[in-house]
């Protein structure tokens, strides 16, 4: 609680911010007679100096000079008078020390007035941040290129620009005991499912951790099944994707200091959708979707299938191919499984290395690593060429999936399938695949089955199937997906001319 004695307040505040070199404070007298004391405090570089000095303090001084407070009403109305003098709409009043501390740490300027047990919190936020730039991780051929930044407000703004609907709500929470990170849930009030919303809110409110440094923390703390390698919330850097999700009835979780927002709930199907699927022609995009699903399958199963067929059932392969493979393998000293694992781990190593290296070197590593190491390995007789091809194909397939977080699941499944195939051949492969399938079929994301609409598709009359393996033309996608409130499920109305054709 703050007191009405200014010096007491000063003492409290300075004690809290002792040893903080970036804490700026100033005690200044105002008024014609210079007898009213103000205490201004803020954190250096968290505030916008222009706003603070040019707008707030400047106008305050001038205002008080021109309208000196009357003697009688000095103590009671001083605060109100001062408030009028501050020319910004974003002012709050607080009597709680904790709130004041938080406000200072968030970039507000606190103004104490001698004689008042209240403080003014003036919003003067202006910290340094990266401007809105282009995405580098989710590149599309056609579509907007702006990306979310680390600033919470900028992110919500980017979404608001796309959805000009007052029903777009931003519910804010502060999560993390020490970081007090702003976490915001953005949704369309009438389209979102209320129970999903309540579930999300309760999960966020129940987070009890000291620090939230990135949206990834939130994703892991609110997910349904922590044991699963498959992601249960989507992560995106693109505002158009986030806006599309909100319009479907999903919830976007914006986390301060993170340029990646979460989209919940997420089913496996959503991970195969990219933004520009909807900006281009439906035929070519259906083809692209099919390729992506095929890529997903190949990324997980190719190495396992190769081992199963080559080591257990070589009768399935055409004869010439078999002889080529056998001939290539004659020089290799390792068993096929070891060969496969070796190349695969080398590939994963390259992948990791490529991420950490800066720009141009990172690109070069792909070529250097792939070509030279692969080629050299084949010529040295460490691996056979077909294994290199299989591993490369499998790796490439994993790059074709639009969402990187899903790839993690496939990469790990790949090893499971490889192990099962190595022991029991095609039968083992199927056992491993069944195990994965069982896991996926029971996985849920905020109550929604993960494999929707491939399972339980009849909940929404199979209309979700229009946007999975292929994409039907836009005018045919009349209903919103399962995420939306059933009462708001119609997206295109009967007035659309093309529907009549």
């Amino acid at each position: 609680m703050i007191s009405s004695v200014l010096d007491e307040n000063i003492r409290l505040v300075e004690e809290a911010f002792k040893d903080c070199g970036d804490f700026v404070k100033r005690k200044l007298p105002i008024g014609r007679n210079k007898d009213i004391w103000l205490y201004v405090a803020y954190m250096d570089m968290l505030v916008s100096r222009d706003t603070l000095e040019g707008q707030v303090l400047d106008h305050l001084m001038i205002f008080l000079w021109e309208n000196p407070p009357r003697e009688e009403n000095l103590k009671e109305h001083l605060f109100e008078t001062l408030k009028d003098g501050v020319t910004t709409a974003d002012i709050q009043v607080s009597e709680d020390m904790g709130e004041i501390r938080e406000a200072i740490l968030s970039g507000d300027t606190v103004i104490f007035v001698d004689g008042c047990a209240r403080a003014m919190l003036v919003s003067t936020k202006g910290w340094p941040s990266r401007g809105v730039s282009a995405t580098d991780s989710e590149v599309v051929v056609q579509g907007s290129k702006d990306a979310f930044t680390e600033s919470f407000r900028v992110n919500t703004t980017l979404v608001r620009r796309r959805i000009k609907d007052s029903k777009l709500k931003v519910k804010q929470f502060k999560v993390g005991k020490r970081t007090l990170t702003s976490v915001g849930l953005m949704y369309l009030e009438d389209v979102v499912r209320k129970d999903v919303l309540r579930d999300a809110e309760s999960r966020i409110e129940s987070i009890d951790i000291d620090a939230i440094l990135d949206s990834g923390y939130i994703a892991q703390l609110i997910e349904d099944d922590w044991k699963s390698p498959f992601p249960q919330s989507q992560v995106t850097e693109r505002p158009d994707k986030a806006s599309a999700a909100i319009l479907e009835g999903r919830i976007v979780v914006v986390v301060d200091n993170s340029p990646f927002v979460l989209i919940i709930p997420a089913t496996m199907n959503t991970f195969f959708q990219a933004s520009d699927d909807y900006y281009q022609n439906w035929e070519i995009m259906s083809f692209a979707r099919l390729i992506r699903f095929a890529a997903g399958f190949m990324a997980a199963s190719l190495p396992g299938l190769y081992i199963a067929i080559a080591c257990f059932h070589p009768s399935m392969i055409p004869m010439l191919l078999i002889f080529k493979m056998a001939g290539a393998r004659q020089a290799v000293p390792f068993p096929a499984v070891a060969e496969m694992l070796l190349m695969d781990l080398a590939f994963e190593l390259l992948r990791e290395a490529g991420i950490r290296l800066p720009g141009p070197i990172g690109h070069a590593i792909g070529i250097v690593g792939g070509l030279i190491i692969g080629q050299a390995a084949v010529e040295a007789g460490l691996v056979s060429p077909i294994v290199v091809i299989i591993v490369a194909l499998s790796g490439m397939s994993s790059f074709a999936i639009p969402h990187v977080s899903l790839v993690a699941g496939f990469r790990l499944t790949k090893y499971l399938l490889l192990a099962c195939s190595a022991v029991l051949g095609l039968f083992g492969f199927w056992m491993g695949a069944l195990f994965t399938l069982i896991h996926l079929a029971t996985l849920k994301s905020f109550g929604l089955p993960y494999l929707f609409p491939f399972v339980s598709g009849d909940i929404n009359c199979y209309s979700d199937m229009k946007d999975t393996l292929f994409r039907v033309p836009l005018f045919a996608m009349k209903k919103r997906p399962i995420f939306a409130n059933p009462s708001e499920s119609v997206r295109i109305g009967p007035h659309d001319a093309r529907v009549k054709e």
Binding site: K227, A310, C311, F312, H313, P314, S315, M319, L320, I322, F323, K324, M325, A326, G327, A328, R329, Q330, V332, P335, A336, V337, A419, C420, A422, V423, L424, G425, G428, M431, F435
Partner: protein, 379 residues
């Protein structure tokens, strides 16, 4: 606790998956492409002599390399599986029959009913050998064919497979090959025809394989061999004669008919207590060559003259083959009994008992119509 118990099942699976019993590395498999089964004869006390041709992996991989060698393994044994396992003992690789393309039976083996049955059974029961494998017969020994050094293609199996896929000549029972068909025939009557392959030598001493003709098996025993023409006579009846070239002497040289389709319809009739079989063959073809004659081949009368000649020729081929099968061999390779069974059960019941006699007595009457579709680009 519940979720931990659920993990019990995958863990149980992990315990079970503690070894690979069936994993065989690719390079340690010896891929057998052709198999030959002969009667074990001479000094060998054993009943079977099995030979297997394994093409060299390096030769197959690198077409540029001239290493077109193959390994032919031979082993004698009291039965086929022992012979195979004996063969396996002489190799550092594990013999694998999953890619086997060809099985050749020697004529001696075909002549022995019991051993032929065993051989067929061994091929069928072996789960590595697929049912689509080609089965051929030969007048000599199967191992000779496998061992011969054929210029075009080291391995007989691959040669035969390519042959059947690419070549389009008739007389080789193209539609009748395959272990599955042979077993079907044998199961429903004990009679079948097995295509024949022979090893021949050119003037220069190079070896080559010639396909044509077939071996007639009656009651699981070899009855005799048919030559190319006679086999074609069989194919006319079965409606399989696509690709045949019927060469007929005409006024100014030979004029061959290139058959594009030959459909046949078989009707049975009982006339005066005797069974008659009418074979209606409808042939369509085009004239491939004419002797530079002045006559226009697009004239209706010219065409009909030639049609008649072709019909005669085809009829004769059918009758020749029928005579051979009926009188000399007494083997119903056509499957007439089975057809009768399907069409007229009562008649079948009557003739079933003494079918061999009835088959010999049966009159086969071919009615051939030839439609000449085109005569080339020249008038």
């Amino acid at each position: 606790m519940k979720s931990k118990l659920k993990l019990l099942f995958p863990i149980a699976f992990l315990f079970l998956a503690s070894g690979c019993w069936d994993k065989v590395e690719l390079e340690s498999r010896g891929f057998v492409v052709s198999l030959g089964i002969d009667l074990g004869g001479g000094e060998s006390p054993f009943r079977y002599s099995v030979s297997a041709s394994l093409p060299s992996v390096n030769g197959m991989r690198d077409e540029a390399s001239n290493d077109s060698s193959k390994t032919v393994k031979k082993a004698d044994g009291p039965d086929i599986s022992s012979a195979l396992s004996l063969m396996g003992m002489s190799s550092s690789q594990k013999l694998y029959l999953g890619q086997a393309r060809l099985v050749i039976f020697g004529a001696e083996l075909l002549g022995d009913e019991e051993r032929f049955k065993e051989a067929i059974d061994a091929c069928e029961r072996n789960h590595e050998i697929g049912r689509k494998i080609f089965v051929l017969s030969t007048k000599g020994k199967a191992s000779d064919i496998l061992e011969a050094d054929i210029g075009e293609e080291p391995s007989a199996g691959i040669y035969i497979e390519n042959y059947y896929r690419n070549a389009s000549s008739s007389g080789t029972l193209k539609s009748h090959q395959g272990l599955s068909n042979i077993i079907s025939d044998l199961r429903s009557g004990g009679n079948t025809l097995i295509p024949e392959v022979e090893l021949k030598y050119t003037q220069g001493g190079d070896a080559y394989l010639e396909l044509g003709g077939c071996a007639a098996v009656k009651g699981f025993k070899l009855a005799g061999f048919l030559d190319s023409k006679q086999t074609r006579g069989f194919e006319w009846v079965m409606g399989d004669a696509r690709g045949a070239e019927v060469s007929v002497p005409f006024e100014s040289g030979n004029e061959p008919l290139s058959v594009s389709s030959g459909r046949s319809k078989i009707r049975f009739q009982e006339i005066g207590g005797n069974l008659e079989c009418n074979v209606d063959v409808k042939v369509r073809g085009s004239i491939a060559e004419s002797g530079f004659s002045e006559e226009s081949l697009y004239d209706a009368s010219a065409l009909s003259k030639r049609s008649v000649k072709y019909e005669e020729a085809i009829k004769q081929e059918i009758l020749d083959c029928a005579k051979l099968l009926q009188e000399d061999f007494g083997a119903d390779a056509y499957g007439f009994l089975d057809m009768l069974r399907k069409r007229s059960y009562s008649a079948y019941k009557r003739v079933e008992g003494e079918w061999e006699e009835n088959f010999k007595k049966m009159k086969i009457i071919p009615n051939v119509t030839v439609d000449i579709i085109s005569a080339g680009a020249i008038k």
